[in-house]
């Protein structure tokens, strides 16, 4: 459902993405790892049309993101996104955070949107927090609300940008469990993370990026057991220590 063809992107003179090629099939789970500054987050932002790219092509369901005729807003409804620092709307309750887009974009009625939101809160395990404000939730709870907010638009694909790296260690598991649940339900997923346990459990493919390039890719086992490049070996050695 996502095709990335030879995409390159520059911030001024600095090249953040260099000839990135990737195809994500429907239902596939792809984990992207690599050192910070390697272009992982930028790649996700490009896929959601949040950043332009200068060369190459990204197609979502066959529609090009760089075509000026493409309605990016419409396309973004298909892809949900979860961020490192949760990014819940601080002035709205958990319930309103989740129902805003369904009500404004999909024009759902409030009761319908709220019913759906409650079901999603059940799914992420915090139905009792509907009336709370984000500031009164723990990091793990906020991230689960963020996942529910993205799911409320019934996306075909979910992208996660280091969803657990801003969390205290004891909260990482609760978020990962929600993500594993999603994976088991067949969601197409693109996940930037350093949680290698998660990667091993759900990933159909693991991509290692460095300096804007895809250095290595492989299925879960193959990637961990037989990394090909020295750069990947060094990186894995670092984070699996």
């Amino acid at each position: 459902m996502i095709e990335i063809k030879k995409v390159s992107k520059w911030f001024g003179d600095f090249q953040v993405l260099a000839d990135v090629d990737e195809v994500v099939q429907r239902g596939q789970k792809v984990v992207i790892c690599g050192p910070s500054g390697s272009g992982k987050s930028t790649l996700l932002r490009c896929i959601n049309g949040l950043e332009p790219y200068q060369r190459g092509e990204i197609l979502v369901d066959g529609v090009s993101l760089s075509d000026p005729k493409t309605n990016l807003y419409k396309l973004r409804e298909k892809i949900g996104m979860v961020f490192q620092r949760f990014e819940l709307y601080p002035h709205l309750t958990v319930m309103r955070n989740i129902t805003l887009a369904p009500m404004k974009v999909r024009k759902q009625s409030r009761p319908a949107a709220e019913k759906k939101a409650m079901a999603l809160l059940e799914r992420v395990g915090i139905p009792d927090k509907a009336a709370a404000y984000p500031a009164n939730l723990s990091g793990g709870q906020q991230q689960r609300v963020a996942i529910a907010r993205a799911l409320a638009m019934e996306p075909d694909c979910m992208m996660f940008d280091e969803p657990t790296s801003a969390l205290d260690p004891e909260m990482i598991q609760e978020v990962l469990e929600v993500m594993i649940g999603l994976a088991k339900d067949g969601m197409t997923m693109l996940v930037v993370t350093h949680e290698m346990g998660f990667a091993r459990e759900v990933a159909d493919e693991i991509i290692f990026m460095d300096a804007g390039r895809i250095v290595e890719r492989g299925s879960g086992d193959e990637f961990f057991k037989h990394p090909k490049s020295q750069r990947t070996k060094d990186f894995l050695g670092q984070i699996l220590k």
């Binding site: 932002r45 959601n48 973004r76 409804e77 709307y89 002035h91 805003l100 974009v105």
Partner: protein, 218 residues
């Protein structure tokens, strides 16, 4: 000792009502236009950013009284008919205050992280929806103390409309004074009235500042 004030109280308070009405228009229009100006000031589109920036910098560097004169005397040349002082003053205030409110909103928008905006877009919200439901409400709440302070200044400035003959309280006080010749009590009364209103306003502003510091909600 406030005899001249009491005999002319309805007349003076009628003038005060004009100040209040003018301030109400100025605030409603100034906040609305100010929010748009603030959005323009953070826009990445040059054809939005540059005109708005020129407008803001120009008006912030000329005295309000000049804007009032300009609208009152110059606008009729373009529109072909003379301006009602109240409408003319209201237009001046909206156009002028919007630049100050706009800069406050801009500061508020700049406290909002790029990823929060991305999160809104990623759920399919349009720019307009994101501005309406996310950017403006958050900036408004975060900047509330500054907005209240600027509102107080706006309220005080409404008395400047007397220069184009608007029958607001200061104007009416000069009229009463020219008949009664009781300058001290008359102008003291006006001062007290303005002081009370503005002092209450600044207390409210302080209250919100404390509240947001304690709550840390935003």
């Amino acid at each position: 000792m406030f005899d001249a004030v009491f005999t002319n109280l309805p007349y003076l308070l009628g003038g005060f009502l004009t100040n209040v009405q003018l301030a109400a228009f100025a605030l409603a229009g100034g906040l609305f236009l100010g929010a748009l100006v603030g959005l323009g000031r953070i826009s990445k589109r040059p054809w939005v950013y540059h005109p708005v920036t020129v407008y803001v910098n120009f008006l912030r560097n000329i005295p309000l009284i000049l804007v009032i004169f300009w609208v009152y005397f110059v606008m009729p040349i373009f529109t072909g008919r003379s301006m009602d002082p109240f409408i003319s003053a209201a237009v001046s205030f909206v156009v002028f205050e919007a630049t100050y409110f706009g800069e406050i909103f801009r500061a508020g928008f700049q406290t909002i992280s790029r990823d929060l905006v991305s999160a809104a877009y990623s759920t399919g919200l349009t720019y307009r929806q994101t501005a309406t439901y996310i950017l403006v409400p958050i900036a408004f709440r975060r900047m509330l103390p500054s907005l209240i302070t600027q509102s107080i200044i706006t309220f005080q400035d409404t008395s400047l409309a007397y220069v184009i003959g608007l029958q607001e309280m200061v104007r009416r006080t000069t009229i009463v004074d020219s008949i009664e010749v009781r300058s001290i009590q008359l102008y003291s009364f006006v001062a007290i009235l303005f002081f009370v209103i503005c002092f209450i306003g600044s207390r409210i502003s302080l209250h919100y500042e404390e509240k947001s510091r304690k709550a840390k909600v935003l």
